[in-house]
Subunit: 403 residues, 2 copies
Amino acid sequence: MPPFDVSEGDPFGPHNLPYGVFSRAGSTERTVGVRLGDQVLDAGAAARALGSPYAALLARPSLNPLLAAGRTAWSDVRRALTAWVTVPSHQETIAAHFHPLDSVTLHLPFEVADYVDFYSSEHHARNVGQIFRPDAEDSLTPNWKHLPIGYHGRSGTVVVSGTDVVRPSGQRKAPTDPAPVFGPSVRLDIEAEVGFVVGTPTRMGAPVPLGGFRDHVFGLCLLNDWSARDIQAWEYVPLGPFLGKSFATSVSAWITPLDALEDARTAPPPRTHRPLPYLDDSEDEPGGYDLRISVAVNGHTVAEPPFSTMYWTAAQQLAQMTVNGASLRTGDLYGSGTVSGPAPEQRGSLLELTWNGRDPLELPDGKRAFLEDGDVVTLSAWAPGPAGTRVSLGEVTGRVVAG
Amino acid sequence: MPPFDVSEGDPFGPHNLPYGVFSRAGSTERTVGVRLGDQVLDAGAAARALGSPYAALLARPSLNPLLAAGRTAWSDVRRALTAWVTVPSHQETIAAHFHPLDSVTLHLPFEVADYVDFYSSEHHARNVGQIFRPDAEDSLTPNWKHLPIGYHGRSGTVVVSGTDVVRPSGQRKAPTDPAPVFGPSVRLDIEAEVGFVVGTPTRMGAPVPLGGFRDHVFGLCLLNDWSARDIQAWEYVPLGPFLGKSFATSVSAWITPLDALEDARTAPPPRTHRPLPYLDDSEDEPGGYDLRISVAVNGHTVAEPPFSTMYWTAAQQLAQMTVNGASLRTGDLYGSGTVSGPAPEQRGSLLELTWNGRDPLELPDGKRAFLEDGDVVTLSAWAPGPAGTRVSLGEVTGRVVAG
């Protein structure tokens, strides 16, 4: 069977074609790959074999040159790739450049410039508010419905799916402790998120309006914002999360271009507050995405957060991030914030799923309030594709190891 | 007069030799420069003229290769440069490679990886606490004396001294406003800080102990953490500063190597709380630096914050930043936090100097609660050098322009 012969309905079929970076066994040379079924196409080698000028963007060790090329190039390259994997004469020419997925090593697909993390699920924010501020009149802070709250994270510790995550140590102090103590986190958690990857940069002083989202954002990935709740709780007043988050953030190896997700676009939830004009998308095309996420611990599904329930969209987050004139760089990454739906089984963190440890999860291998050493957490997701197909976003997985 | 003939006691004499990146008039080619008096030595060209192997580190468009070369190389290169500018035979060989400072353009001297900002002046933190939480029992948050509080900022908007700063727009909401309003910040401020530049990277999971500071940090610069207080006040709960800071951070063009600041080392203030062992420097060499900072608005000095009063040292900040296993990259930058001394005229922000606008500054050109368009803010500093000399840290300057 030729490698391009993916089965009909494969969620990595020709309607998907996500981008990654891989190296072959015995080689350290990285190059851009495109996934088709369980095969990886060496996209640069294929471009060269076909005499395509896109070799200059694809025969590269990271996605950054493609990201920087801009929206027209993204569409052109995708159209070319679609032809290469579906037109028989092209298929023949490039057949030698497919490699079985399990024979290659996948790498961080792009060089992360700045990393920003948002907090845009109303259900998540309300759950967190109820857990940590049970006496507050409103579980949301007063600003929550007026702007997508965000903060900068550490881009140097963004790692690709499959990278082990070392349990962080740090200070923690329970309310009853007389003084802080130091040691490995005992409340290690995950946050199921979607990450957005910026391609086209901007100049300082030039905000991106809501309608500029697709000119600047290339695609998305899955993102696990590992969180040490005990470290975070002690450090975060007044300047926000720092060491409770900065030890590791995992992203999926495949970046799904927005062009593959046209059928997944959906309206965000009704707005209870009309936002200021720069965030008001009520007259715009649907800004949400219908992505169905699964969270599994040691292979056991513990939650299915629906991305369509996010209050603030990725376009609003981008508008917010730049409204003060902050510039964008190719490779900027921003996370949606934990995705939690309204139902208990749709919550995207153990903090919420176990209600801060009060109601541990019952897994086949025992109870879990928070993560134990050796636990493997896997986020996966799919979106509706054309004609009833699914578009897989792949997975982001990581194993907790002792420090 | 040969260009190397700096006057005795020049604060940019051969005892200083800070590094920057410059281009010559009519050229876009950037290369590493070393400042001597009011001259810039093209260090790569000098190295080549002398047949020095350090040309590989110096004939480069940024300091990153030198930063990455590690502590032994830093000392070796500095020793070589000192000989080049002081030994007559070398002086003659390199004479053609000096350029008048006012004939070159200075650029951002290194590629900023992650940018972290701390909050380590007790006087600053207490002032801010008293201004914003006047009813609190303690003006410091409970964690303040146990760890250096920090957060990640935006590295993509770190700019070199001399870059105009566009007044940011954003949401603000005074307590009396029924809803947030959008517009240019009306409380634009500065924060006088010192920035530390990381050279030698680390692996994830490998914290840097206090004693590792000089193995990893190459040098320091002046840093102005521009802050829109009105945007910050509305956005920062619960995840910390974001758009109130991310529009611009200015750094000086010259990076002063730690080796030039041996005579400025000093003991930090007495600790009122013994920190946890990973932060306990009570048995270590003095971790503070005696840097005398000046803050000027439109040429008028408004404050002289003494860096020696910082409670947490740069070594403690580095230990904190990595104790959770977060890795360092070459080009990581971290700010000390606003430097404020105990006296009113030693405060490093307008927020403190005007007590949140209540007591405007009287400048020759009028009153200032916060910055007006056209205002030029300049931070400068010097440190004690060998034999009664001064080591200048140069300056970081920026002009506020309307959005």
